[in-house]
Amino acid sequence: MARTDQLGAPASTVYVDGENTLHRYWLHAASVATGIAPANVYGVQQVTPGAVTWKKTYEAFQQGGGERYSMKFFPEYTVDVQMFAANVPAFLAAITNTTFAQAAGYYALPLVFEDWPLITWEQIYRQSDNSTVVGSMIFQDLKLKEFNFQSNNDNNIITIPFYSNHAPLYVDDSAQPVYDKFSGDGSTTAFTLSQTPLPVTDVSAGVADCSDFVLDNLIFCKVKTSTQDYGARQKSGISVTGTTLTFTTAPAASTEIEVFYLYAVA
């Protein structure tokens, strides 16, 4: 390597244009099943994720001691989705699991939302053949913030603001996500995943106290009781061997177990 090196020209395969990017999501309120199908998102003009910021940081030190030790808690970032106004109502109804359709007798959709994770989003970067996947971004546990419809003279694009408290991930093109849901019965401790989870880099090794991120290669494993609105992330008490997810203590009857992970593209 010399300071005078000239690199080769950019190959046509390095371009990843937004028009070729597919957006889809997994609905957390989906019925119990394995390999739950994601829903494609129509009308997307742009998706703008913000950088992760930390809502709480500490510096630990002792008097007369050495260097300070920094600890970070609670990552947070925004994800703004811009789409055609005409596509927004159906999208909102779908992700909030709300009935909004003339045929069903519901004629208005209130624009106020609960503050809990509704969906996990994937934006898939592809080459210009709309077929060759370059990689994808996962925005897990997106919560919907309040917003409103504006009006402008040109094509009306609405920004739908989300945020998340769990780290975004970049996924290699050879892996893809899968979302499995199981029912607990109070006695079963072992559940068979639909695929074999692939290793995921555990950021807790590099970022202090972000240990809710990866547990036995699961991006998340949650348990939701029948009275809860959303599942609680499991930070211990589970293990995965092959396709078997084992709980130390059987999830209670009527609970829903949500598992999100990556598996190899065939």
């Binding site: 000239q6 690199l7 020209a9 950019p10 190959a11 046509s12 395969t13 053949d129 077929s131």
Partner: protein, 164 residues
Amino acid sequence: MSVRAGYEIEDIQRVVHAVIAAKVSTASPWTSWTAILGWPESDVLNNLAKPVIYVEPPTMIARTVQQGAMSSGVWEMIVGCWDDRKTGGTQEINIIGSQLLNFFRDKKTSHDTTKITITLGSTTYTSKDLIDMGVNVISIVGPREIATTDLKEFRTEFILTIRN
């Protein structure tokens, strides 16, 4: 990236022609037409029973760069349609043009599922698509009507913009 450095004008033209030739050899209504490499001279037209789609050489109109490197090209090329049979009327030329527009707007079909076999230099590439060959058609605009000496002949041209 199979288009050869230093042979881009020749290779891009031949790759795009090969893709259109693959269409006219297999898919209806494309089988009603013929693909021609370059400008169709009158003796060529006279020997063909079908309307032609002709593919002209590309022209470099811009470049894209990465820092510390050579640049790559943005090209424009003309793809024209010519119905000289004097029987198709405006309907035939409009169908040819619409099919061309739709083909290149459908990126999966034009850049992935349509396969070609082509020899560039001494290398033969088998069952490749546009992306494999390093040709990315990022837009098609047109048609532009071209006057003909015979009122019963119809000719239009489209401009493809290509990254390579």
